[in-house]
Structure formats: C-alpha cells, structure tokens
C-alpha cells in the first residue's frame, strides 16, 4: 500500500474550481516534488493532505494517508494526526514561529500535545531533536535571536519531532540564501533516509526539484499535467507545459555585445557605518560597518551583476549609489559628479539613474493610474515635458516594454506580476537614464514570466545603450544578463571580473561556495 494516495481530488472554493481531478501516489522513503507556477494549486494540494483547507473549501475525491481518508476524518481525529502522522514545514521561517515562546518549548509542544509525558521529558527530547536538525544554539533562545536558516531548522524539528510518516515541505528554502538552501535540502534528504518517511516537497524551483526528488509531479492551473520518475521525466518530457517550464528555467538571453566606452559610475573606497544602540547609558554609540572599502566602476553601456547573500550589504550599496543616504568614507560619482551633496541627493545626478525594485505588488501606489505612476520621474527634470510631448514619452515607454498606450488609464491592480514589473521598467526608462539599478527585479516572478522580463531587458539593450547594475541572489540569472559580476560578502567585495570568467573559474573561496551551493538544472536531453 502506498503511503499517500490522492485519488481524483477536486476542490472548489465558492464558485471557483481550484483543483481538477488530482491523482498522486507516493511510497515510504520517497521524495516527491510537486512543481508548477504560482496559482497551479501546489500549496492547496498540500493543505488538503494536512486537512487544513481554508474555510469554504469543498473537496471531492480521496486523500488516503496510510489508508485513512483525510477528507472523511473528523477535526478532532485530524488534530491527533497532524504533527504525529504527518508534519509540515512552511515557506517563511521568519514568521512561522511564535515570537514570544522559546524554540525549545515550541518543539516540545509537538510532543506534549500528542503524548502523555512530563514537560521535562518533552523538553529533553526537543533539545535532542534540535541537535539532530543541526541547530547549534540553546533551546532557551527566542526565534528573533536566530537567522532564517536556523529558524527553518526549528520548524523542521517541530514537524519531525514525533517521526511522522509523511513530511510536507511547502517551498522550504525559497526564502533562504543559496548556501543555506543547500544545507537545508541536505538535512531534509538525510532525515527522509534516517526516519524512512515520505517527503512531499512543494517548490517552484526546478533546479531544486531535479536535485532532490525521486519523482516529479508537474501542476498547471489545478491539474496534474505530467508525473514521472525524475530521471525519466527530465530525459523525456511529454507535456508542452513541462517543456516550457524547464526551458524558461534555463533561459539564457541573447545579450548584445557591450559597447566599449568611457567610465560612468565610479564607486571609490566607500564605507558606510550605521550607528547602533548604546551599550551603556551615556557611553559612545558603537557603529556597524555595512560597507567596507567598496570600489568598482560601471562604464557606459555596461551590464554589471551584484551577487551575495542576504545581509551582505547589497541594499545598502544600492541606497548609497542612488544618493538616498550619505556614506562615511570614500566617494560615489556619476559622470564625475557626486551623487550626494550636502544633505541631499544631487538632483543633477539623480535624474541619470533609475531603479526597479523586487516586489511588483507593493512598489506602486495603488491609488494612482499607470500614466501618473510612470511619469513620476519627470519631476527630476528641470523642464518636464508637457502636453503632447509628455503623452509621446509615455506611449514610447509603455511600447518599449511591450505594453500599449491604452494601459495608461488603468490602475495597477488590473495587471499581473509580470506586467507590473514591465510598468516598473517603463517608469525607469521614461527619462532615458544612463544607469538603471535592478534590485532583485525578477526574483518574485514565475519562471516563464521571468524569462520574458529578462528577454525584455536584453531587447532594451539592443535598442539603446543601457547600463545597469543587476542585483540578485539568483546566480543563473546574473550569469545570463551581465557582462561583469561583483561578489559581495559581509560588506566587502571579495571578487569581481568578467561574468563568464568568474563563473567558470571562481577564485575566492566564497564565490566557489556560492556557485557550488546553487542547485543546477541538468542540461535538457542530456540526462539518461
């Protein structure tokens, strides 16, 4: 008998049909990955297995876990099963833990609610479990004292404390850095082997899937479109959606040759210190050095990537370049002019730079129409265009990013994530800046949309000489859209050079570890 068998599962919430006749089965000790883009129904399938469907859901079919139909089980019996027979790990480790309880107590709780045991005994077992998941801090610590990776280990310890038969992990590494991601994936793989449990892994990241899963289930719009053993499926993809998904993930854009020209942005020996809280009542304020002797150049028309893990100073550097904050040492100039003068950003320089942010959902004012949103940078100009000239500039910017002038009158909620990111790029392009900063600009997008946006960027490079600084934690994306790459660690630049050279032959140990940790998709058709 299989450990988990989903048969003919359909689900509607209100009038909307979310899942259509899902079939899926897995054995003990097997790792099955459900993959697909956002809205494909991956997470809701996982919640159905946990019996944690949102209110108003009407499921039909069977979800058999070890022979018990979850859909027919009463809530009290489900409570007995959750945490005991099946455990779940969620995506966002920063918010998945109760902030006012120690991590040891939160793990012990899983034991205490399912077994008749003393608090002391449960705490002892919790401590052992925390050690087993590789956490090297005391169980008396609170979540806010831990890093994202450490918190995810706590969540895993909570889910597996009673050695469940099935562990469900919903995007367990999406919010983590690459090196942390590979360590957490290793841990999950070891645990599956040691406890002989089933792991249902939900992820949009195909490289992760290919790396760890025994079996892959590809979902699209609430349907399973293809299922198969990992090796076989990768070697012989049948459904066009699967093929499209894999192609988009390994998408390499065709970047035109960079035009060799004069230096433009010059960052020289920059230090950035943040004041911290005083240690004593009237003592001196200690400071934290977020940027340490940063020097690099970007030439006109050059595409530069910036990679590094969270907290390495990428965002601080962005703010410094944009002249949003002053620096404590060194100088940043664009075309020889400082980006920050006195107490303000230098407006003369500022109009030559624009930025595209990560989150296409929260980086726009929802009350403004697109025309107002994208023409906002005009206020940087001394003589902003008016009337027809303004409308022409707007139309050109929208058409350049693949939208039409009709979209100008719409509000931002009428657009999809990919379209919003196009609007963000249109907003950046409208004053024809010399430099655009893409701050994790494609990180929140689905693979196919991401591929389109990357193509758009390459296309824009062909139309006009465009220089940009492309900041991302995703190495494969940086590799394809940049000429040169800068690697940062803990506020310092540890390596910089031609993108291909750095990726093919990394010199610094940190760069080497980053590249080694990044999960790789096998080249299509090469897998046997």
């Amino acid at each position: 008998m299989s450990l988990l068998a989903i048969k003919d599962l359909s689900l509607t919430i209100g009038e909307t049909e979310i899942l259509h006749t899902i079939d899926l089965s897995m054995q003990k000790g097997e790792i099955v990955a459900i993959t697909g883009e956002s809205g494909s129904g991956k997470s809701i399938t996982a919640l159905a297995v946990m019996g944690l469907l949102p209110r108003g859901s009407a499921p039909r079919g069977e979800v058999l876990l070890d022979g018990t139909d979850i859909l027919q089980t009463t809530e009290p019996d489900l409570c007995k099963m959750r945490g005991n027979t099946m455990g779940m790990v969620f995506q966002e480790p920063m918010t998945a833990l109760n902030p006012v309880q120690t991590i040891g107590d939160q793990v012990a709780e899983t034991i205490l609610i399912h077994e008749k045991t003393t608090k002391t005994a449960a705490r002892k077992r919790a401590a052992a479990m925390l050690q087993r998941v590789g956490l090297k801090v005391a169980p008396t610590r609170y979540p806010h004292e831990l890093s994202g990776g450490q918190r995810q280990r706590v969540v895993i310890a909570m889910a597996i404390a009673l050695r469940p038969k099935l562990l469900i992990a919903d995007e367990p590494t999406t919010a983590l850095d690459v090196t942390t991601q590979s360590r957490i994936l290793d841990l999950l793989r070891d645990l599956v082997r040691e406890f002989h449990m089933g792991l249902l892994l939900i992820t949009h990241d195909l490289a992760v899937v290919a790396d760890i899963a025994d079996k892959i289930v590809v979902m699209q719009k609430g349907r399973v479109v293809e299922t198969g053993q990992t090796q076989a499926l990768l070697a012989n993809m049948e459904h066009p959606y699967t093929k499209a998904l894999f192609e988009a993930s390994t998408h390499a854009v065709c970047l035109p040759e960079a035009t060799q020209s004069a230096p433009m942005l010059n960052v020289k020996n920059v230090h950035r210190d943040y004041p911290m809280a005083r240690q004593t009542l009237l003592g001196p304020r200690p400071s934290f050095r977020a940027l340490h002797d940063i020097s690099f150049q970007i030439n006109q028309g050059e595409r530069v990537g910036l990679v590094g893990e969270s907290g390495c100073g990428k965002s601080t550097l962005t703010r410094a370049i944009l002249g949003l904050e002053d620096v404590q040492g060194g100088q940043i100039t664009l075309d020889g002019e400082p980006v920050f003068t006195g107490k303000h950003p230098n407006l003369a320089v500022r109009r030559k730079m624009q930025v595209v942010f990560q989150d296409p959902y929260s980086s726009f004012n929802p009350r403004h129409r697109v025309d107002r949103l994208i023409t906002e940078p005009f206020h940087l100009l001394e003589t902003p265009p008016t009337g027809q000239a303004r409308r022409d500039a707007m139309t050109k910017a929208l058409e350049d990013v693949g939208l039409s002038s009709d979209d100008a009158g719409k509000y931002i909620h009428e657009f999809s994530g990919g379209q919003r990111q196009r609007i963000a790029i249109a907003r950046a392009l409208i004053i024809a800046p010399e430099l655009i900063i893409f701050d994790e600009a494609v990180s929140a997008l689905d693979v196919s949309v991401r591929a389109q946006v990357l193509d758009l960027i390459a296309d824009l490079c062909r139309k006009r000489p465009l220089a940009y600084l492309f900041i991302s934690h995703d190495l494969s994306v940086v590799r394809t859209v940049t000429d040169r790459v800068i690697v940062m660690q803990a506020g310092k630049i540890v390596e910089q050079g031609e993108t291909e050279t750095v990726f093919a032959n990394p010199q610094h140990p940190y760069t080497q570890s980053l590249i080694a940790a990044a999960p790789q998709l096998p080249t299509l058709g090469m897998v046997v």
């Binding site: 009290p76 007995k80 959750r82 945490g83 902030p99 609610i113 806010h144």
Partner: protein
C-alpha cells in the same frame, strides 16, 4: 532586561521633570498674578499682598519651583487656601476613594473585556461575535454617567441592593467595597467595550499569522492555537489601552464621583478649580501626572514580560 528597565526608568524621570515644569509654568506663571486670580476681582490689595507673601510669590521663580518640588518630595504639598488645611491631608482623605475605585473599575473592565474579546474572535462572523460587537458599539457610544443613573435606578432605588451614593469609609471594608461597586461598574462598562474591541481585533490579527498555521500543523486544535499562541501575542496592544484607561479612570471619574457623591480626587479638583484654590489644583494635578507616568512605566515593564524581543533591545 535590566538595561531595558533602566532605560524606561530614565525616561520616567525625565517625563516627571518635564511635567512638573509644565504644570508649574501653566499654573503659576501664565494666569498673571496667582494671588489676585485666586482672590477674585473684588479682593482688597492688602489681602492680595498677604496671600502673595504666604504663597511666597515675592521669591524668584526658580526658588519657588525648587521649594515646590522639594516640598512634594517630602510629602509637603503646601497649605490649601480655601480649606485652611495641608493639601497632603486633603489628598490623603480622597486618594483612598479614587485609587480603589480606579483599580476596581479596571479589574471589572478587564474581567468583562478579555472573555468577551476572546469569545468574539474565536467565533468570528458568528452570532456570538455579532452580539458582542453590537453590545460594545453601544458601550462605546453611551456616556458612563448615563449608565450610572440607570444603575442607581435599578439597583439602588428599585431593588435596594446598594445605596445610591456616599462612602462610609474603610472601617468596614465590605461596606466600602459595596458602595464603590455601582460607580465601578458605571466606569468599567464603556472601558470594557473599548478593551473588548481591541482584544478582538488584535486576536484576529494574530490568528492570521503564520505561526498559528504552524501550531495547527503541529496538531493543536483551533481553540488550543488561540489560547496557547494567539492570546499572549495579542496582549501587547491590549496592554497599551489598559495603561491609558487606568489614567482615565483615576482622573476621569469626576462625573461619576458627582453622581454617587463620592469624596474622591475628581471632586476635590473640581471644587478647588471652582474655588480658584491653585495650590490644591497644582499639587493634585502633579500627583495624577505622577500616577499616570508610573502606570505607563509598569505597562512598559509588562511589555517586556510578554515580548522577549523587547528584552534584548536597549
């Protein structure tokens, strides 16, 4: 934790100093000559001069301020002009009505609000939730003196369970508490309505958090997740409101004290303002400010007890 407490203590001391300067400034400096003000328009110049000398108004401003402050620290609040007794005695008589009344009302309001808020949140959208929210809407809208009058009508005049007003003193604690019960209920009801609404919305915010989902995935029932994980996190905004309410209950009981003929601080201030007895007003206001700041200090400490994230921050 110690550093956090020390930080709050520093802020408490600074607040007290600033408050004393402001109160002193407003009362002694702004109305012109306090002595002339206290005696009214028809006062004879020699009476005013006598009062000026008695109040020490011929002294420089800084000396007067320092005298006042050191007096307060020693428990010497000065001599009331209208009552001709030390202000400390006046306060001492009344604080033992106002303080217990405020604490009584606060306990009642918490006892009503917590269960009501938690119940409403756990039955979100249900009949219980709608009933409780409707009741709190009324509670917020209706002024407390109206409640007071209704309570007197029902429980004192019709049922004769309680007396309609007055305070027998603490010689018989049972009678004292009994006579404070109706005023405490009248004060507590509107406060409870506000507190229950805050508790409900704060809990609902918490119930939407990821860690509640995590708790459910561990096998906790909805109710267990609510009690073990949501309530303590929801307490932080609730504590803020409790702190503000206590201050209001202590100083804002004037009308209720009038309705129930209670010899409390509110009445003392009211009478002193009517009699233009600035010495009493000044000291009682400072005392109230002191209590409010102390309560907020305690609320700050309670935050840290509830939320470990505050303990590590300076």
């Amino acid at each position: 934790m110690t550093r956090y407490a020390l930080g709050r203590l520093t802020s408490l001391i600074i607040s007290l100093i600033v408050a004393s300067v402001v109160i002193f400034g407003v009362i002694e400096v702004i109305p012109g000559d306090p002595a002339a003000f206290m005696l009214g328009v028809n006062a004879r110049p020699d009476t005013i001069a006598a009062l000026r000398a008695e109040m020490g108004l011929d002294q420089p401003l800084v000396t007067r301020y320092l005298d006042w402050i050191t007096g307060l620290l020693r428990g010497d609040f000065g001599q009331s002009w209208t009552y001709k007794t030390p202000v400390s005695e006046l306060i001492n008589d009344r604080i033992w009505v106002s303080l217990p009344l405020a604490i009584y009302a606060l306990i009642l309001s918490t006892l009503i609000a917590f269960p009501a808020g938690i119940y409403a949140a756990s039955r979100r959208g249900g009949a219980g939730d709608i009933t409780i929210m409707g009741a709190t809407q009324l509670g917020v809208a209706i002024p407390n003196f109206w409640f007071a009058m209704i309570l007197v009508l029902i429980f004192a005049i019709n049922l004769r369970w309680f007396s309609a007003g007055g305070f027998p003193g603490w010689d018989n604690p049972f009678q004292a508490i009994k006579s404070l019960t109706l005023p405490a209920i009248a004060l507590a009801l509107p406060q409870a309505a506000i507190l229950a609404r805050v508790m409900r919305s704060s809990l609902l915010d918490m119930l939407g958090e990821d860690f509640i989902r995590t708790a459910r995935a561990k096998g906790l029932s909805r109710r267990q997740a609510l009690w073990k994980h949501a309530v303590r996190n929801a307490l932080i905004p609730v504590l803020t409101i409790i702190g503000l309410q206590f201050s209001f209950l202590l100083a804002g009981g004037i009308i209720i004290e009038q309705v129930f003929f209670l010899p409390g601080l509110g009445r003392l201030i009211f009478q002193s303002i009517s009699a233009r007895d600035l010495i009493v007003v000044e000291s009682v206001v400072m005392l109230l400010v002191f209590t409010v700041i102390m309560v907020n200090f305690l609320v700050d400490l309670a935050y840290a007890a509830v939320d470990p994230r505050l303990r590590t921050k300076a």
